[in-house]
Each structure stands twice: as structure tokens, then as C-alpha cells.
């Protein structure tokens, strides 16, 4: 219960941040050349000034900026993100449709990066300054420097064009209607390359942190005690060192949640996945500012919820945090 109230307090503290972001981006978007009506008129193939006037009135764009902001926030409290004139649907609907691929992609990439980062980090720290460590650390540096979109394109060339093992893009095969397990497998096959592409840079970061954290914990007194008790090395590592070394890794998940969401914009564009990131890109190109603002809101919300979960995990890994509350 203590943990929950602690994490809950942090969650409540992030509400002002959320409003700060929304107000900031809302005011910023007022400076953008052209508004929703301009975009709409361009799509209709032009129109006279009277129509534009009527449309502005309809969308509430004739009001003063503070009044518009107030309107927007008031609608937002009721979870109404406004209307996307480009998609002809409420923004909330558009975003909800695009959310599942992004969440799936992010979860998969995070699991991939976390798991292999942990494994490689442990291996590197066990053979510090010997060849496994040198190899892993060098690979980590190279992965860190690799632009994700470029890695994605090269993966498409190798695995989709030459080897033809995996599909080059899309979320699922739309040529055939599949159900049940076959659909799951089909989606999984489509997500392999995007997951690797998005996860690569995080794998590099995680393995570096895990290695440093392992080396730090391995020098602590309680590890010596555990060894002195006569525990075998596997036991010492898995039961004593790992749990303590995991703390910085978990912190990193919260810190990197935003970066990962930003990375999915690029990765989804490379693999033409119909996700939130691609929607962000499309709404910039199409000047659909309402949708863009909605995406800003939802991505901030996502980052805040990831941090909430991280807080809970953190307290679970280190009971002292909850006790100090």
C-alpha cells in the first residue's frame, strides 16, 4: 500500500507537468502557418472566404487564443481531443486506432533490449577487459552510433529482399484474412525487423549500464560475505548481485520511455507500420495540428504511465525505497 501511495504521489505531481506541456505546445502551434481550416480548404480544392469564415466559426477558431486554449483544456478534461478534419474522425478515435502497433512495438523492443542488455552486460562484466568484454563493449559502441532508420533499411535489404525471410513492412498481411494463432504469427513476423531496429540503440545503452552496474555491485561487501559463506558463483550472481545491479536498469526504462516513443516515429515510417509515430509524422506533413496536439498529449501520458510502473517496480526491487517513503 505504501508503495502505491508513494507512486501515486509522484503520479499526481506529474499532472501540472502535463498541463505545462499542453499549454506550451498549444501556444506554439498558434504560431504555425495555416490552421485546420486552411488544411481542410486545401483538401476540398479551395473555396471562398465566406466558407472559410463559417468553418472557422464552426471549429471555434474565430475566438481569441486564451478562449481557444480554455476551450481545448475544458474538452480535454472530458477526454475529448477535438476533431481531425484530415481523417474526418475525432482525434481520440484516430489515436486509439493507431495506438496498438506502437505499444506492441515498444513493449517488444524494450523486452528485447532489456533482456539482451542484461545478458550481455553480465557476460561482459564477468570477463572484464578480456576478449568477451572487449567484443561486447565494441559492439555496444557501434550499435549506439548506428542510425536506427539506416539499420532498418539495411535489414530490409538483407532479410526481405535478398533472403526473403521476413516481410519488408506493414503490420499484417492484408492480402489474406487470417484469424487466431495464424494472425498472431503473421503480426509477429512483421514486427521482428522493427523490434530489432528500434531496440538496437537501447540494447547498446542497457548493456553498458548493466556492465558498469555489475562491476560496481561486485565490489561491495555483501558479495564478499556471500562468497565467504561458500555460495557458488552462479548463486552469488543470480541471487545477490543481479537484483542490486538491476536498479539502474529499471531507472533507465523510465528515462528512456520518451526517447523510445520518439524513435518509433522513425522506425514506423521505415517499416510503414500504422502506429502513433507514423501518425505524428503524417500530421506534421498534412498540417493536421489538432491531431499533432493530441499525439503530444497521449505520448506525454504514455511516458508518465511508464514512469508510474517503473516507480512500482523500483520499490519492489528495493524494499528500502518503500519503507523510507
Amino acid at each position: 500500500m505504501r508503495i502505491l501511495s508513494l507512486a501515486g504521489r509522484r503520479l499526481a505531481a506529474s499532472i501540472p507537468t502535463l498541463f505545462l506541456i499542453l499549454i506550451g505546445v498549444f501556444l506554439l502551434l498558434q504560431l504555425a502557418p495555416g490552421d485546420t481550416v486552411d488544411a481542410l480548404m486545401a483538401q476540398m480544392g479551395g473555396g471562398d472566404a465566406a466558407t472559410a469564415e463559417a468553418l472557422r466559426k464552426f471549429y471555434g477558431l474565430d475566438l481569441s487564443v486564451p478562449a481557444q486554449l480554455g476551450n481545448y483544456l475544458w474538452h480535454l478534461v472530458r477526454l475529448d481531443l477535438g476533431f481531425s478534419s484530415i481523417y474526418g474522425k475525432p482525434v481520440a478515435t484516430v489515436i486509439l486506432e493507431r495506438l496498438p502497433p506502437t505499444i506492441l512495438l515498444m513493449t517488444a523492443s524494450l523486452s528485447f533490449a532489456f533482456f539482451f542488455g542484461l545478458v550481455f552486460g553480465v557476460i561482459a562484466s564477468r570477463g572484464v577487459n578480456r576478449w568477451p568484454d572487449t567484443l561486447i563493449s565494441t559492439l555496444g559502441l557501434i550499435f549506439y552510433a548506428t542510425p536506427s532508420f539506416w539499420f532498418g533499411l539495411m535489414a530490409i535489404v538483407v532479410f526481405s529482399v535478398y533472403l526473403q525471410w521476413l516481410p519488408p513492412g506493414g503490420f499484417e498481411d492484408i492480402g489474406t484474412v487470417q484469424t487466431g494463432i495464424w494472425r498472431v504469427l503473421d503480426i509477429a513476423a512483421h514486427l521482428v525487423l522493427p523490434t530489432l531496429t528500434l531496440g538496437l540503440i537501447f540494447l547498446a545503452i542497457y548493456l553498458r549500464i548493466m556492465r558498469a552496474s555489475m562491476l560496481e555491485v561486485l565490489n561491495l561487501d555483501f558479495v564478499r560475505t556471500a562468497r565467504a559463506k561458500g555460495l557458488d558463483e552462479t548463486h552469488v550472481i543470480t541471487r545477490h548481485v543481479l537484483r542490486n545491479a538491476l536498479l539502474p536498469m529499471v531507472t533507465l526504462i523510465g528515462l528512456q520511455a520518451g526517447t523510445m516513443l520518439g524513435g518509433s516515429v522513425v522506425v514506423e515510417s521505415v517499416f510503414s507500420l500504422p502506429g502513433l509515430g507514423r501518425l505524428a509524422y503524417e500530421s506534421v506533413v498534412q498540417r493536421d495540428l489538432n491531431t499533432l496536439l493530441g499525439i503530444v498529449f497521449v505520448s506525454a501520458l504514455l511516458v508518465i504511465s511508464v514512469n508510474f510502473v517503473v516507480d512500482l517496480l523500483y520499490a519492489r526491487l528495493d524494499p528500502r525505497i518503500a519503507a523510507e517513503g
Binding site: 506550451g24 504555425a32 552510433a145 542510425p147 533499411l153 516515429v265 511516458v303
Partner: protein, 276 residues
Amino acid sequence: MDAVKRYFRSPAAVIGLILLLLVIAMAISAGLLYPRDPLALAGRPLIWPFSNPRFLLGTDNSGRDIAAQIFYGARISLLIGGVATVIAILIGILVGAFAGYYGGWVDNVLMRITEAFQTLPNFVLLLVLVAVFGSTLTTVTIAVGVVSWPAPARLTRAEFLSLRNREFVQAGKTLGMKDVQLILGEILPNALPPVIVYASVVMAVAILLESALAFLRLSDPNVASWGNLIGLGRDVLRVQWYVSAIPGIAILVTVLAVSLVGQGLNDALNPRLKSR
């Protein structure tokens, strides 16, 4: 002097420095080696690399020399990376110094703003900024700088928090020095080294951010940038994959060089940590 010696003892740091100097040399010599406009048509489109001595790295989809674009692209990447880093570090130092030195409500307000910037994914903010202010070289550079300042700000703040109650600061206060004098003249020089080292991380990320933006065709299309070229090469990826592959390697090498130099500097300046 010790630090310099320590730097050159690490092979990784030396390799990083050589690679970085190589990229800088490319940027400087671009005008000499390729006096023509790198975005002008030069020959037949889609010549494979090493097949025509006139175009060592081949030509892209519209017949522009890839090698020339790589050399000029080094200028753009270093320029955007460098200037954006300076902007991010300056804002970061300013915010971090005030928040850390004054504490209290100043700290509260500034950290709330920092938190807001960190909660919003920086690439999404970058998209918003580009949507609002357009994508010229100047706006993209400033935008990349503006999304990158929170981390240096936090670092500076932490340094200021640990330094502001030291004796030399108190001595300065007793002597009647003004706050600005104390912040800029006394504390900042002591807080600077870790921030400068961190600048390498900011620069690496800035180069990657710009190239991703260019790849999405949201950066300045009128300059020869590596990201632009990768985006173009995407149209002919199935067969002429080299159009995308070559500039990607250039980005990889540059970012790798910047990170290696940063790590080398870090190890050289904090020798205690090096033994790990």
C-alpha cells in the same frame, strides 16, 4: 598534461580522435576536391560505386555524385551537431546554474519546465517545432538544440548544488561578490568539466536527430545532408541499396568518433573511474 597523456594511452580514444579528424578533414576539403555544387547533376544516374573512376562512390537516383554529397554532408552534420550542442549546453548551463544556485521557488519552476521537456519525447517536440517554424538549416539547428538542453541542465544543477556551499563560495560571499560574479566566475569553472564531457553525448544525439529528420524529408532539402541522401536512396533500395548504405556508414563513423572522444575525455579527466 597528465590528462593528455592518459587520453593517448587509451587506444579507443585515439581511434576516435583519428576518425573525428578524418571527418573534419572531409568537411574542410569538400570545396577543394569537389568545387562543383554537390546537388548538381554530374552524370548518369545510379552508377555503382568503384565502377567509374570519375564517380568513386557512384551516383544517386538523379545522377548526383555520392562522394561529393558525402564530403559536403560532413560539413552539414558537423555544423548542425556542433551549433545545436552549443545551444543546448548554453541553455542547460543557464537553467541549471540558476536552479542549483538559488534553489527554492526558482529551482522549483525551472525544474518543472525541465521535467515538461523531458516528459515530451524529444523527437515529437522536434516534429512540432519543424511543423511550426519550417525546415531551413537555421530552424532545424535551433530546434535540435532546443530539444536537447534538459540533460545538461540537470547535470549543471547537480554540480551547482554540491558546490554552492563550499568554502570558496562562502569566502566569495563574505567578500561581497555579486551573485552573477559568484555563479560565472567562481562556481561555473568548477562545474564545467563534466558538462563539457557530456557535450559529446549531446552532439552524438544531435547528429542522429538531424539525420533522422532529414531522412523523413523534414530537414532542409537544399543542402547535401547524409540523412537526405538515405531518404532518397530508399526509393531504389531493392537493387541500388548502396545509395542509402554509404551515407549511413558516414553517420555511423561520425557518431562513433564523437562518442569515443567523449569517453576518452571522461576517462582522462576522471582517472579514478578508469581502472574499472
